[in-house]
Amino acid sequence: MRPVDVIEGKVSVLDRADIDTDQIIPKQFLKRVERTGFGEFLFYDWIRSGEIELEPNPILIAGRNFGCGSSREHAPWALEDFGFQAIIAPSFADIFYSNCTKIGLLPAILDEQHCRAVAEAGEARIDVDDETVTSAAGVFEFAVEPDVKHRLLNGLDDIGITLENAGAIDSFEQSGAAERGPVTTAL
């Protein structure tokens, strides 16, 4: 993952609530076994039908509960591959939010009024370290968990960090509790 510190540029706006991951990347594109190339299928049905138009700007602003539904990481992959580096919304679905932070696509939560103000401003600058979104409409603060911020700013691989802690996992397993569960290989 590349480091994410400042994201700056024009915003694209999708002012709808409850946009689910089935819309972001419809199921027929989940059959691919690769991790790249999903951008051209982003919002496939909505864009093909002319229902929405979307510019690949650095920032996307959307309605509440963005990314609800399926856990498919293909949704953040598609948004990122399309060109978005950050998504601003009043709220996100939990799994989607987590998936974004794993690949360096920044999810930033601003209240609905501020989302609309930034959308109207048309351009913004997001500073991850300062936790601010700056636009002609003003400077708005968002929150990001300290460990997530650390990973984003430094572009760190989650697995690498956890494996530095391998001793703790070994100890946990040796303490016995982990070994009481079912053994799938014995079935």
Binding site: K31, G69, D94, N99, I161, T162, L163, P182, T184
Partner: protein, 461 residues
Amino acid sequence: MPQTMFDKLWGAHEVSDGLIYTDLHLVHEVTSPQAFDGLRLAKRGVRRPDKTIATADHNVPTDGTMAARLIADELSRIQVETLERNCEEFGIPIYSLGSERQGIVHVIGPELGVTQPGMTIVCGDSHTSTHGAFGSLAFGIGTSEVEHVLATQCLVQKRPKTMRISYSGELGAGVTPKDLILATIGRLGTGGMVGHAVEYAGPAIEALSMPGRMTICNMTIEGGGRAGMIAPDENTFEWVRGKPAAPQDFDAAVERWRQLPTDEGASFDTEVEIDAASLSPMVTWGTTPGMVIEVTDSVPDPAAMDSPADRESAERALTYMALEPGTPMTEVRPERVFIGSCTNSRIEDLREAAAVVDGRKVAGSVRGMVVPGSQQVKAEAEAEGLHDVFRAAGFEWREAGCSMCLGMNPDILIEGERCASTSNRNFEGRQGKGGRTHLVSPKMAAAAAIEGHFVDIRDWS
């Protein structure tokens, strides 16, 4: 200090601050290929293949194709074959197409007994919350996290908040766990449980069988919840007893499991109370599971909604669903009926639906499909003769898989078709581009198939 069941599960699995050990990792073909690729790139192995299990479900045809190499759709074939190869390379047990244990990942876990109380269970699928019905902490993850669990058997997690939804009273005749969870989501909204691990409690929950509890926990994610869970009790222990993966020292395990339920006086971040006796059979009218009404109600009028965002969403949903405000739900006529999915494809669901259709005929305007959740459910249903009941009524009886719940396989709606579905999502295009989904219980789906329109199952005979 008194603890919630969630507190106990979290505490028992915290390796270090925010690092949670997972006791079981369920793997399927759609969200895993990129994770296995990641392992190979980084030259990492699978830490605990003995705590990992795989099946093929999302992509598989349900027409009797019984080996991955025979799947007609090239991309689906490649994905299932890739899963088989990955499992072989990393030593992970797999029940793929053709195995008598193949089925929807959330159906086969409990069926094999690998789902047990007190465990942490993850899968690259949002409906992993199903397994919480056993008193486990179970949640869906994305592909990066799948790779993380494969490599470390752990997951970096922010501790969620806790919510308890207590249901007083008992469900009325004809009102099912599916109606209970749909009504709950309707009340709390699709984001109402976001950030929370949700415990379902109270007499109405305690009275339910395990399949009913699974239906409720399954749809937690449709309310935005991180995990859904129900305290284990005698019903739970009896389910696990005798299953292939049941603990060898079963009594000792039960003693441990008895310690799991929330302590008297433990506090939750959020408490909700719902009178189960007040609930009715439910039908969704829109394009989120929260857009739901009682079957006796009429399609709502967006103009009467307070918030502009709700109004816009409702207007768009009604246009997509081709419904007029004020139309009684019982006048809405599905052309397709789908009984299946990880929400409602267990043997009890099929028995309930079969009891409704027994001796009757599917309406001429309707095409009905029944898709058992697993090969074992299918075998059990056939041993009871349920397949004959469905076939005699005019239903198609198919092989196990996710089928028309998500339209990743040949079972899809065509544009404009309206479907009464026992699945979990009525999103635009979920069951096929332009398809219109109404979520209902198995009984309600079965009755709609017979009549050709929705009916109130309580006064239908």
